[in-house]
Symmetry: D3
Subunit: 135 residues, 6 copies
């Protein structure tokens, strides 16, 4: 957060604060869980054992929840008003990314294409995240 | 979700889907936890016992997390693109409401004013929520 | 809790205490989760896709757990000895309601009738709850 | 559960069911967590370091929650109507035991006497539990 | 932990410390969850209802996770360097036991033989645990 | 696991296996949480507000738990017997690293030196991890 004050000087001073848990953020947390979802989906497609498939659905559900959680934390706790001004589509991007880890995405389908689509959206967020860190 | 199809007919058809866990949403879940946060803050102000205060801070932290979670679920799982078009400030409203349950709000201060501010933001969301349900 | 002291004056004075997290209780928390269970059961009956059905069973299990948790909190944390004296069947009602969200109820069967039975029991608890709040 | 059918033959046949997660219950789960609470309380009394005390309060809170959870599971999932008929004070015993792990007990005070009182109540439940198992 | 200092006198003095949550450990916690896993596996084999089987897989997964967690806590929080010197195979034993509650064990198969194998490994740990407690 | 011993010839074959949830591992998960712990410790040292300090202790406790969890998963789920043969100190390294996130490390002290020591141990694990991946 300290880096930010360099680049968004006037406005961010107003909103900047010392979030106790906020100094360390990394979209890698969401990405790793999403990679896990996609890997589970691929294994699901190659294995017709019903026990295995039940476990795969269960694990994809849990990991998708973790993706949503990590993205929500970034959206609420890391990104500040100046970021949303600079990247006007950022709200929508996060909303679509979290939806892509939900019922219309990796929860609702074991098709690895949904996992890949989720990873693409996280990559977009990751790019913006590092831009804001580098100012 | 069925009600929605009446009002946002063309566009929502495209995005509507049968979210398995989504039929039942209610901002009351976030509101009840936020009321709990505010009540804990008030008790904190009236009790200087250190054990009590430690527990109050801990519980306010947990309840604030629950507020954030319930709001995030509404934002991602309940609200759809047509809602965001109709209420252009809805993204920002949710972002501010979840921040108000974080380090710059009810987590970072035991002042009941932060709990009251959080409840006001949830009331704004609640109003929009019921408008979308009634079409 | 403050309201209670008006109605159960002598006895409750003895048992009343300042539960830090107890000022805010609402059976709506259990009801909302139970409505979710019933909605999931109905969708399960109308969809034979195995992935969907696995997710429905999983979600009904989780939501039933939440119902049990919310009811247990009411039974232990909100209701006090004077309530149990005034409503002698209250222990049994809570025991049956939490069982109705378990293996003999909404966990053990995806029949929406179990969800409806659970909601009826919660409605009975809700009625008593608001009677005790209004004195 | 199979043992039960020996002793409560007529009545329990009606209520007996194959709870998937219910074959294995043991009050030791609640007792171990309660012993932990009491040990933490004792260490709290012997250590005035504020960091240590904050952690002690936090851990006592978490472990007390686990005690409540394990007791609630026994009360709802293990004990059946015939047990409550045979031990008419069992509802009240569980209600007092779970309250003893709450704000009026081990959560609300770091006095090891509250931990000891909780352990006594769990010992009463334990005694009844094993009577019902031995039939 | 206090008992230990009697037996491992020179070395343990150096490593002994007052772990706030560590005074109370008991391998019974892992054993009870593992017994639950094995019971669920047996019921799974005797019931072909798909809803029941989905729940059984889900519960075995959760209970296996609890077994792993309880074993990890023992391995990291209870056992100290002098124990690992005295029992050179203890690291490997814990590694095999936690793997036996994972994908190559009770998570990956509903065969009760995997539950029995897990219980055997926990019994080995339990034997060492009580030897270290008795000095 | 039994299959593994068959094709342990080239090393990468050795690490490939079809554990359903295991295809994706990354020590970054533990590192990110440990960086958060250290950042929280530093902020604690620079802020004497009692509410802030209570929250800092609480968050360090939670994040330390996450570090332990992520490391335990690597130790049990990712690393296999051939790894432990090749790196004979790996068991001890993981045991020390998880202890370093416990009562004798980042839980028991808010000194950032404990956070730094934890990060060093994770870096050692990370180095070995990537060696085994590149096989």
């Amino acid at each position: 957060m300290r880096l930010l004050s360099r680049f968004f000087s006037p406005r961010l001073e107003a909103t900047a604060h010392c979030d106790l848990p906020c100094g360390v953020y990394d979209p890698a947390q969401a990405r790793i869980e999403a990679e896990s979802v996609k890997a589970v989906q691929e294994k699901y497609q190659n294995n017709e054992d019903p026990e295995f498939r039940t476990r795969a659905v269960l694990i994809a559900e849990q990991r998708s929840d973790l993706v949503k959680h990590h993205l929500w934390v970034l959206w609420t706790d890391y990104f500040k008003p100046p970021h949303f001004e600079k990247y006007p589509h950022l709200h929508d991007l996060f909303n679509r990314a979290t939806k892509a880890a939900g019922a219309s995405g990796t929860k609702g389908s074991m098709d690895p294409a949904t996992g890949a689509a989720l990873l693409d959206l996280i990559a977009e967020i990751d790019k913006i995240f590092w831009e804001t860190k580098q100012g």
